[in-house]
Symmetry: D2
Subunit: 144 residues, 4 copies
Amino acid sequence: MAQFEATRVLRFGDCDPAGIAYFPRYFDLLNGVVEEWWGAMGHPWKVLFGPRRIGLPTVRFEVDFRAPAFLGDELRFSLAVKRIGRKSVDLDHFVRRGDTVLWQCRQTLVATSLDTHKSIVWPDDLRVSLVSFQEAPHAHHPAA
Amino acid sequence: MAQFEATRVLRFGDCDPAGIAYFPRYFDLLNGVVEEWWGAMGHPWKVLFGPRRIGLPTVRFEVDFRAPAFLGDELRFSLAVKRIGRKSVDLDHFVRRGDTVLWQCRQTLVATSLDTHKSIVWPDDLRVSLVSFQEAPHAHHPAA
Amino acid sequence: MAQFEATRVLRFGDCDPAGIAYFPRYFDLLNGVVEEWWGAMGHPWKVLFGPRRIGLPTVRFEVDFRAPAFLGDELRFSLAVKRIGRKSVDLDHFVRRGDTVLWQCRQTLVATSLDTHKSIVWPDDLRVSLVSFQEAPHAHHPAA
Amino acid sequence: MAQFEATRVLRFGDCDPAGIAYFPRYFDLLNGVVEEWWGAMGHPWKVLFGPRRIGLPTVRFEVDFRAPAFLGDELRFSLAVKRIGRKSVDLDHFVRRGDTVLWQCRQTLVATSLDTHKSIVWPDDLRVSLVSFQEAPHAHHPAA
């Protein structure tokens, strides 16, 4: 199954007084990876959220944090499409340091109209991109 | 079952370019409510994370976002203790605007040593506080 | 000179691995106080940034950080209007813990159109509010 | 004069409901660039803030925001050392999109002990690195 991969260094501003990753910042990093993935599929959020007025809010998260990450750690995010619905998509995320899975999550995104904030059926081009990504045999890396 | 309740106004800095709450900021607000609750039980994090070197990382989240929140909305957080483990506690959170549940989540926290980042059995005083809270008949509100 | 005052507790999520306030979070707190002040003057940002399409970006900051703040500290923000320009306003901020000034800053905001992101002359009602605030003899506190 | 340069894409989470960069996030990005620069000089913050117990808080900022940045913009940060004091350093930052300066700031950092939060004289190795950087003829880029 195709995977989108991205690397992030855990910065000072991502860490808490306990010296480990502050989990709300994990979600901020994760959201940035999801944004980067849409861009790599040819759908920059600048266009989706701008002229096309399409939102992609998260409606469900299941998250397991397994091990703490520390200041300066290199985090490898990996994203796969688990299921494509008529108006939603389920993503599986794994975040590793070396071979250790630090945390993982299942995220459900829905397509919405930014005018009504109601869910909409995937526009054809977005659905095609999701299906193509899901069916591609190789890992996708962002351009360096 | 006892509930801890807290109110937060959704600020400009909590919102995203779609004009609704940015979900990583929701977790930041939630974490602040959990911190406030520990303080109301007599255990300010200043003391836990400082001299006592006790951490309270989250190891699991299940979150359902049901409706968007908008700039200026008044969010009512409500927290209940679902289960007290030997080294962990499960919390149920509901976040409402008026009578509408905007989102809800189940959060599992564990007690850890900040020196080893390993889980520890609840210190007696913390366990007593959790049990007392869980068994109290009334809602708890923070001091105004 | 009139002052707007607001109190914030320094939360876990506002602090860094050094155990003190992370300065980007200070600016986030400050922005929330400015937002609260506009609301107290009768101009909630929900309306300004929504139907009225008026932005209030910051064009200049001069900040002096004098002493660190720690987890759990109660911060007292105090805001005064220093100068009202045709399209801008200068604010003086002081942030204290007890009687100690932790940091202070001069901030210049401008009124802009959110359609063009160009500066605009203050709409009359906003200018009247700024002048009334500046000339009021007493400190303003937000409703509890 | 030597410059350290770094590039950041302005992410969704960096933007506000007005659709432009939220300035507290600018400071978060800036802090990450400063962290990266110290790492490139051989002093990762993991070591400074960890075993060496050295803090680098900011004591002064002068910031001019000249033009808004939008979702997806590529921001080029450039950092130069203006002045090295006995216990402090002044940095000049410019943030550009293409050839346009979006914002610039002068930042004063001081070295502190994380045990006392008092300023300290620069440890020799840190001072040597700062002087070497300042005197180097070329721009420094982080490893790709």
